[in-house]
Amino acid sequence: MQLTNRSKVVSNKKMSFAEKLYLPAIVKGLAITMSHFFRKPATISYPEEQRYIAPVWRGKHVLKRDANGAENCTACGLCAVACPAEAITMTAAERKPGEEHMYREEKYAAVYEINMLRCIFCGLCEEACPKEAIFLTPELVPSYLNRDEFIYGKDKLVEPIDKRVDITQRQKHLVEKKQ
């Protein structure tokens, strides 16, 4: 019985005299090895040298603030429902009077977590976001020794108020996509 046509018939024929000598085969193999000395190397000396990363590369997420420094995210949950890997979880809270400078809308994400082990960096969260709050940046997510460290909370995701993350390239790309 044959289920697929991928099986190969193995032959067990006798080797010729030339093949039995082995030396020609060894010389042939060495020639291939030597030829690689003169080729362009396939590796680079990271971290001194770094490869080009496209400006629209989908890497680590950032939660944006508006011009006044208030967080854009309103914890609507559309990114989490759009996420095919179910990497995003959040808890919403109501903004109290006097917190207007911290949160743009009357509701905000008290907890916002992305599990970078689950995330597949597809960018559907930023497409779903109605508030232009979440964007993917060309920055890479490093590797850690502990699983807990891969769960990024607001401390790692929200952009620092004095060190804004430039996402103009990403926005341009998204605007084109949405049209």
């Binding site: 309103t74 609507c76 989490a80």
Partner: protein, 357 residues
């Protein structure tokens, strides 16, 4: 039984039914049922306020003197005399031989689009914040019939949020003045303490001097509100409806409303996340109307799984965002899906058979 023609399909309904009810009763035969924002079949006297259920209504033309049908020379069929303007289908009762055009008439669709635009004039477009998003009838309506962007540039009217009682939050900004909640108060509770004050553009739902609504059945106002104007304070911003799993459950409850019109029998929908009950609502039918009203005790005081007997998951239309990511089989399998499933089982049995050999 009367015979009426809705969207070129003849249906039979009992005399005295409204056009909207006639369409709902024959929903499987018709291309579509008029939407309704203010009409609520369980509330007496509701309807006629929002105008989204507009349809074209006409009668076959008959010669007054001879009672002979008038034939339209262009089509060779009997001429239909339509009313000059579309009518609200929730308030128009059927007549024998009536011809109704809803979904099939571009005029009606255009009128509906206009009504949606009017409803959205003062409604804030902040669905990401609103707790009703995902189960909001206005959101669905605007998605299906509205324009993509607003043309309104003037200032929208806004109100401060009011706590009416300790369990209900009123955000008048979102209200579309459907009057459903006032009918609930009138018909379910003994005394109505809220209503609509002022007129026209100034009309607003209010308890006047911030009177608390604390009747035993007042919580049903939250369920009948088609938008997010009346929301459950115990659930406010706790979660989004699409993260929760609705399950049907019941508990023993014989709560009677004070005017003895309505009785709670403890049948409700629990909105769960894992083993946690986030909120309790009444069960809703496919027209998003409450099947049986529940009392406030069931709604607010029993957010514990142990208090309920869980019957099973609530059937949610798989077009609804509420069914997103729940990985349950869509309530009704489509033809294509059935075929694929069948093919898969056939293939599997073939392979098993071959492996057996």
């Amino acid at each position: 039984m009367l015979k009426v023609i809705i969207d070129d399909i003849e249906v039979e309904v009992a005399p005295g039914t409204t056009v909207l009810e006639a369409a709902r009763q024959n929903a499987d035969k018709l291309p579509g049922v008029p939407p309704a924002m203010c009409y609520y079949s369980k509330l007496e006297g509701s309807g006629g306020k929002c105008r989204v259920c507009l349809v074209k209504v006409g009668m076959p033309a008959v010669d007054m003197a001879t009672k002979e049908p008038i034939i339209d020379p262009a089509t060779g069929k009997q001429r239909i005399n339509f009313m000059p303007k579309p009518q609200a289908s929730c308030r128009t009762t059927v007549a024998p031989g009536m011809v109704i055009q809803g979904e099939s008439s571009p005029e009606v669709l255009e009128a509906r689009k206009g009504v949606v635009e009017f409803l959205l004039i003062n409604h804030p477009l902040d669905c990401p914040i609103c707790d009703q998003a995902g189960e909001c009838k206005l959101q669905d309506l605007a998605y299906e019939n509205g324009r993509e962007a607003t043309r309104y540039q003037e200032k929208r009217r806004t109100f401060e949020k009011i706590d009416i009682g300790d369990k209900i939050k009123l955000h008048m900004t979102r209200c579309i003045l459907c009057y459903r909640c006032t009918y609930v108060a009138d018909q379910l509770t003994d005394k109505r303490v809220h209503g609509i004050i002022n007129r026209g553009d100034h009309a607003e739902i209010s308890t006047y001097i911030q009177n608390a609504v604390e009747n035993d059945f007042s919580g049903n106002m939250i369920d009948v509100c088609p938008v997010g104007a009346l929301t459950d304070k115990t659930f406010r911003f706790k979660s989004r409806v699409w993260f929760l799993k609705p399950v049907d459950a019941h508990r023993t409850c014989n709560h009677q409303s004070k005017n003895e019109k309505i009785k709670c029998n403890g049948k409700a929908t629990l909105w769960m996340f894992g083993g946690e009950v986030f909120r309790v609502t009444a069960r809703k039918d496919k027209w998003a109307e409450v099947e049986e009203f529940i009392c406030n005790e069931c709604r607010y005081d029993h957010k514990n799984t142990a208090d309920w007997t869980i019957e099973g998951p609530t059937a949610v239309s798989h077009q609804s965002v509420i069914s997103a990511n729940h990985y349950t089989l869509p309530f009704e399998m489509s033809k294509g899906m059935q075929n694929r499933l069948e093919q898969k089982t056939v293939k599997r049995s073939l392979i098993e058979k071959q492996l057996g050999e």
